[in-house]
Symmetry: C2
Amino acid sequence: MTERPRFTPLAASLPATVPFVGPEAIVRQRGRPFAARLGPSPRVLEAIRAAAPDLWMYADPENHGLKAAFGAALGLPPAHVAIGAGIDELLGLTVRLFAGPGDAVVTSLGAYPTFNFHVVGFGARLVTVPYRNDREDLDALAARAAADNAAIVYLANPDNPMGSWWPAADIMRFVEAVPATTLVVLDEAYGETAPEGTLPPPGFSRPNLLRFRTLSKAYGLAGLRCAAVTGEPDLVQAFDKVRNHFGMGRIAEPAAVAALGDGEHLARTLARIAAARERIGRIAGAHGLAALPSATNFVAIDCDRDGAFAKAVLDGLIARDIFVRKPVAPGLDRTIRVSVGPDAELDLFEAALGPALAEARG
Amino acid sequence: MTERPRFTPLAASLPATVPFVGPEAIVRQRGRPFAARLGPSPRVLEAIRAAAPDLWMYADPENHGLKAAFGAALGLPPAHVAIGAGIDELLGLTVRLFAGPGDAVVTSLGAYPTFNFHVVGFGARLVTVPYRNDREDLDALAARAAADNAAIVYLANPDNPMGSWWPAADIMRFVEAVPATTLVVLDEAYGETAPEGTLPPPGFSRPNLLRFRTLSKAYGLAGLRCAAVTGEPDLVQAFDKVRNHFGMGRIAEPAAVAALGDGEHLARTLARIAAARERIGRIAGAHGLAALPSATNFVAIDCDRDGAFAKAVLDGLIARDIFVRKPVAPGLDRTIRVSVGPDAELDLFEAALGPALAEARG
């Protein structure tokens, strides 16, 4: 046998498969593009175009301007903010900081898979709690964190993939119920699209709480890679120990300042998202299906049978150029997940749903 | 004592200090900006501006187009390429994949500090070999890798911070001399600015070799965060186990395609870099100092005394609005590191060097 460089035992044990499929892979397979979704503020585009000549420079390694911009938007001092190239990166760093090999990390069965990818990737032990009535089960998560002496418990509010949410008061009770030695990861990626009263006040802070916000969802800047984590200064400053200090793109700061400062565009986007959610609900209803209430920029539609049936509906939609996803966890897998988009795209969804359903029903 | 969430023992042991200072921190302290350096191709700026409206989308998680673009530029099939948000990110993932807690990792004393940051960050054991005549000591690095049964040996060619380099034949002999069980990290960030014959041919590949290229240096796109690692398919595909699959910025692909495709701009930039290196050498010579030969976009100037004296020269330059860096390792620390730039910036350097030297000489 040829001698080779040695992967670490952990790296060697990790699955080699790519767990993430983007629309590009499907587009490459079938050779046709999908339609557009809701984009960023024109002011953001202007700021990016103006900043492009500065791309020869690295971004400020201290992220001084980005911390100030997120801090101002959230009403927090910059010392309570750390910056990352998307919540995914920040979740990876969080797991690395707090969960060692074998440590228990609690999440819901079927919740955000990229968090699980990092838990497995750092050798921690994933412990899952089932959803209850299509919502994350706060009592069960807190109880499980205590029973397993968990290093981290993960909660998304609003939730991905179901679009469900809890009022702030329940979230705050949940945080208090988690043991003080367990870090609470509160993923608020969809915070802007939630009804008022969903997010605890920005000042709600605990020594074991990290909260995550992003420009990828309501601000329409998924391709910018810019997110923030907020919490007590000693917690957020720990990211300096492990993050790539020159890792942020140079245009993230001007884009974030413009995006976070354009409340009118955000309000227009939120109105469009709300209208699109309602329309998706009407389309589902017209086909005899129930749309689950959603606080996000997507809607889970209950296909009212098992996972195989929902998968057949999804395949029928993708064959008709409609890019939808679906949860895979038992119970949740009876739904398909449809993203909001411009009316023209929802027209296509409306036209495709009937034939896709008929096909799936055989 | 209040109960707190637990950092992992490794995370708790890491230094809390920020090891990286960018020009922004100094600008904030003194309130005045530094002058500009060499920027990207106008075609890149055009591509970025055209792609800005697409920023609502995530980038392709498979980085299909980026692998193809770097592969085409290097004459390699895409399966030999993995993509990351800068070489820094790829170095971190490499350490994570190959060096576990306590494993020996060999580098030169005073070489690229971000690699060391990752080695320490993942709990591996840093083993250093001194420079020899201001170059990395190939024989000593290979011997040390064998003696310590190293997981990784790091080599930058051309080198940062000294600007020195080895011809391709020596690099290839070095790779052959390293044990087959040790991964060779060959950092070719400055590959474009090196004399012909410095880089082994793109097809030079070994089962224990990873090579790194970036858009941050000669292509003038440090703020874009886009780099590639090349090697045997089984090595580069291992990055899929741990990388953030949606971690690349959306505009990286069109920018990279434009940058890698604009050979004329690259040739112009390389000519300007060569001319600026020569001019920095003349300026140093006019002040009785020797500029070290450089294959990079910066020049190390030998201040011909000890580290304290070179630091005094550096402080004098920064006080005069000239942003320079300096190596800190014993022996190397007698130099200051001056980046190439437009003539107007070198005029300022020329005007400031005499007074800074006079001040340092006291």
